[in-house]
Amino acid sequence: MKVGILALQGAFAVHEEMLQSLGANTVQVRTPQDLNAVDALVMPGGESTTMSHLLSTSQLFDPIAERIEDAMPVFGTCAGMILLAKSIADGRPDQRSYGAIDIDIQRNAYGRQVESFETDLDVDGLQTPFHAMFIRAPQVIRVGLDVEVLSTHEDKVVLARQGSVMVASFHPELTSDNRIHSLFLQEV
């Protein structure tokens, strides 16, 4: 069982460390060949416009879409969540997303970096609060009926799951708490 981390840009290295701390066998994914070797995929935070661009230039967009169609477990954080959403309210016209989870997203919804923050979240299935970092975070502005909401903050969905797809608007990889990654690995 191999867990891939999309390594085109962004916080992929810290995701990899966290997955390894849970005993996962990991590989960084930059090409279609890398993708063929993995059974699950983490799409990290970073700049969603950059990643969308690099997914196309690296010939990875369509192969990933096919794997998601085949129910490969995926976990997207922040920019990764934007890429997995059904629609992006204020994306660039050429920005693509997978529509893998029935949510609509607004990018940078909390404002610029001075509005980035940390806070404690109650998460379904976790006994104690999870300390979360929101960095120029997106907001979920619509949630479909089939989406399971795992955590909210100020009435916004911040952690959700639908089938084999899990998304977070915050960055569980930026703390030393690996419980959210552990939730994802339980699906794998």
Partner: protein, 297 residues
């Protein structure tokens, strides 16, 4: 569900968090909205808004200052990626203004004319994260102790010559490697030699890592330059004059973005390096009369 906890903004973790998000990316110098759009279209992770790219500052001479807020705001309005801007070394009022504009990262930059020849800005006093240049590990650790959330090698801005960036990256990573081999008594001497706080030196001895991300800046002009910086250990690249002083900025910008992602893959590097037109002409180090890298203390 219980009531949610309050938000904490401006913490060190939140500042370093944005630096993490910029890893594996290219930050491009832009002087107007048109260039900012070209940069975003090419896949830049952020833009640095400034009135003149370093090559022009070098040509014009005189005092280089923070850019006009109007120009920074125009760039903020036209793109969705983070916008950085430069304040002079020690000029904390320029930094206050940049924070008030909502700039995502402040670069306390040696490319501008220093405002203080002894002190850097107390970066802990700000909610906006700072990036600072360094030529060696001691300089990097002094900036980190002042609150920098990101370090970039200084290189020699505006030259299109990567030699100084390479020197600075090798200095920093070389010393980190040596410190991990030092015994506990030797760390005191390292702290003294570097002019750096002992606890930060001890931390590096233990982890083998700088406390914040390290990016490369100063002289990158080609996709191969970007990949060189990445293979040497930089985690992202700043490209200043190298894009918009070249013959054909858009394809060069795209190629440098791809090269930064696929920095270990020579086949991809060969592919993206083709047909980019002429890079910026560049200058040899013996032809410049002022080294910006020497600014900063």
């Amino acid at each position: 569900m219980t009531k949610n906890a309050a938000r904490t903004t401006g913490s060190m973790q939140v500042k370093r968090g944005l630096a993490e998000m910029l890893k594996g990316g290219v930050i491009m110098d832009v002087v107007n909205s048109e260039q900012a759009k070209i940069a975003e279209d090419a896949g830049a992770v952020a833009v640095m808004a400034l009135e003149r790219v370093p090559a022009d500052i070098r040509r014009d001479g005189g005092v280089a200052r923070m850019s006009d807020p109007e120009m920074i705001m125009a760039i903020q309005a036209c793109c969705t990626i983070p916008v950085m801007a430069k304040a002079r070394i020690g000029h904390f009022v320029e930094a206050q203004i940049l924070q008030s504009l909502g700039v995502d990262f402040i670069d306390e930059s040696e490319v501008l004319t220093p405002a203080d020849e002894t002190h850097h800005i107390d970066k802990m006093a700000f909610d906006t994260p700072f990036v600072c240049g360094a030529t060696n590990l001691g300089e990097a650790l002094r900036r980190i102790s002042e609150g920098a959330a990101l370090i970039r090698s200084k290189g020699e801005a505006g030259t299109g010559n990567v030699v100084e960036a390479v020197r600075h990256l090798r200095n920093i990573f070389g010393d980190i490697r040596k410190i991990t081999q030092a015994d506990s008594a030797e760390l005191f001497d390292w702290a003294k030699k570097l002019g750096a706080p002992l606890p930060l030196v001890q931390e590096i001895a233990e982890t083998g890592l700088l406390q914040v991300p390290l990016f490369c800046a100063g002289g990158i002009a080609t996709p191969a330059d970007a990949a060189l910086a990445m293979q040497l250990g930089a985690q992202s690249v700043f490209v200043g004059s190298g894009i918009f002083k070249s013959d054909d900025p858009s394809p060069r910008a795209k190629a440098i973005v791809e090269a930064t992602t696929h920095f270990m893959d020579a086949d991809i590097l060969a592919k993206v390096s083709r047909n980019l037109g002429a890079p910026m002409t560049g200058i040899g180090m013996d032809q410049i009369n002022e080294r910006y890298a020497e600014r900063g203390w």
